[in-house]
Symmetry: C3
Subunit: 219 residues, 3 copies
């Protein structure tokens, strides 16, 4: 069992869990037309997957999900809430993207923060923040047979890396706190949504697409 | 290395391993038309996947699979047996379903039991029982690119949760033993097969399907 | 954190990491047409996946990837190199196969070697060598929605098992060293490429394919 986590980490983590749970469950309703067990299951996998991968990699076992019932409760609740909202199917596209961006942003911060708590280096903490952020969504996409967003992303891994970097640097320099954590998550959230809104993609391999000047690539 | 597991846990675990190994290997023959390496590999992944996930999550590493050669031997043997039976292709659908239900039932019991041995709470033990039960089959489905049964299930996760709950409650109240373990597994097994036989699904999201009175949903 | 690994293990591991990173990233360019983030991500998953699975299963956490920055650096570098080479798309098929075979061979050796360092038995070390060898490529294939090579393989798991067996036996008998390690990897590499060149597959299930005398099966 683990000690009680710092309150800021816990609050951000549970909020991110709830956001990813809503996202995964709404995705189950919209994209895969699953029944209630499938909806709640996909919600919980999306909500808890990133944190479980993080806790395995930093050797914090059993993962917080299992040593702290609040994660399980929040994840299950998010799935049930989303299931109840399933009637309004035609309005789900927006919320699905927003909840995904919110979970991504918060988990990038908590992943980097917890990695430093476990005495990993700054570089590793940044990578781990990104893995935590994209992990749950990647499991979600694999389970419903979609190419994971992180692979073809409109700015998905990059904003997570930015938020994890801000978090790791502010922790290392001693200026981390609620404003820094919220700020880091907000930067990730805005960059992600701007990327979705304007269809900005990371650049493709040189020459691979013909990539004329009309393409949406940017550097 | 781990200590010798309790005999009841070991017996149920190895039986479940053999059942899931037959299931995975027969699935490889029937659904994916794999060669001997693929058949044995998919059998072993299905047989060992749930237990490995369980042992990672409860921090019992290396997993029993690796610290106890009997798991590896049983899993490999089940794959070879199923490969040898591959000729009778047209009769495989029934046994595939039965072996899957058997593995599901036994692993739900052993997962919950081992979680309590490792001092997790009752709620966590129930969830872990279900994860152990559905884990191997989910890996199997992902590897051969099927939507995992647990997501669209005709009563797949629910009977596993029931068996895990019976197990966890009987252990907590001190009445656990061979009868309770077999009884819990039998309930799961019967509910699962009844669900398959009558096409009973968990209910879909309200309004999502039009869900007229002729639908197979039930509550 | 882990102690500094033996120099031979580290050298083979980093070389395998680089080879698998090139393979995964070139696969991302060729098969999935991903952008730079996707290319580097798929390269890193392929490069680091096998070692991470190995380190989880032998309870060497955090995995070497995170406790030793050289793995992350090599994996990221391989992805960037492959991205830069993306222009020569029509020549990629050969290198993709060769890099995959190289990673397979080296990781089979390092997986078995590290398992014995962690006091697992010979049988377990052989299986773990094979898992390390095929793990990264399997994650790669799952992420881009291909049936994993290990399941339908033209001699994929078998040469890995051979190399892991040579490694485990030579370590147990005290004759392991640079020649044995290189020799074991070379056997795997040659068997794998011969299998690809001549389309040799492991035998299918008896009667499953009709399998006439003109088939490519061999025993």
């Amino acid at each position: 069992m683990n000690a009680e986590p710092p309150p800021l980490l816990l609050a951000l983590d549970l909020t991110g869990t709830f956001a990813f749970g809503l996202n995964g469950a709404l995705t189950a309703v919209r994209a895969a037309r699953l029944d209630i067990v499938g909806v709640v299951t996909l919600g919980m996998v999306t909500a808890l997957g990133g944190g479980i991968i993080r806790d395995i990699l930093i050797d914090s076992l059993p993962p917080a999900t299992f040593s702290d019932w609040r994660y399980l409760a929040v994840a299950a609740a998010s799935g049930l809430v989303a299931y109840g909202l399933g009637r309004r199917l035609d309005r789900l596209a927006g919320p699905i993207i927003v909840f995904d961006a919110l979970g991504l942003s918060l988990f990038a911060v908590t992943g980097a923060s917890k990695a430093l708590d476990f005495r990993l280096g700054i570089g590793q903490a940044i990578i781990l923040g990104a893995i935590t952020a994209v992990g749950g969504g990647t499991l979600r996409d694999v389970l419903i047979r979609r190419i994971p967003t992180v692979l073809y992303s409109e700015l998905y891994a990059i904003p997570a890396l930015i938020a994890a970097t801000i978090t790791a640097v502010t922790i290392s320099t001693g200026v981390y706190g609620i404003p820094a954590a919220i700020g880091a998550a907000a930067v990730c959230f805005v960059v992600r949504l701007v990327g979705v809104r304007f269809g900005l993609n990371a650049p493709g391999p040189p020459g691979a697409y013909g990539g004329g000047p009309g393409s949406a690539d940017r550097r």
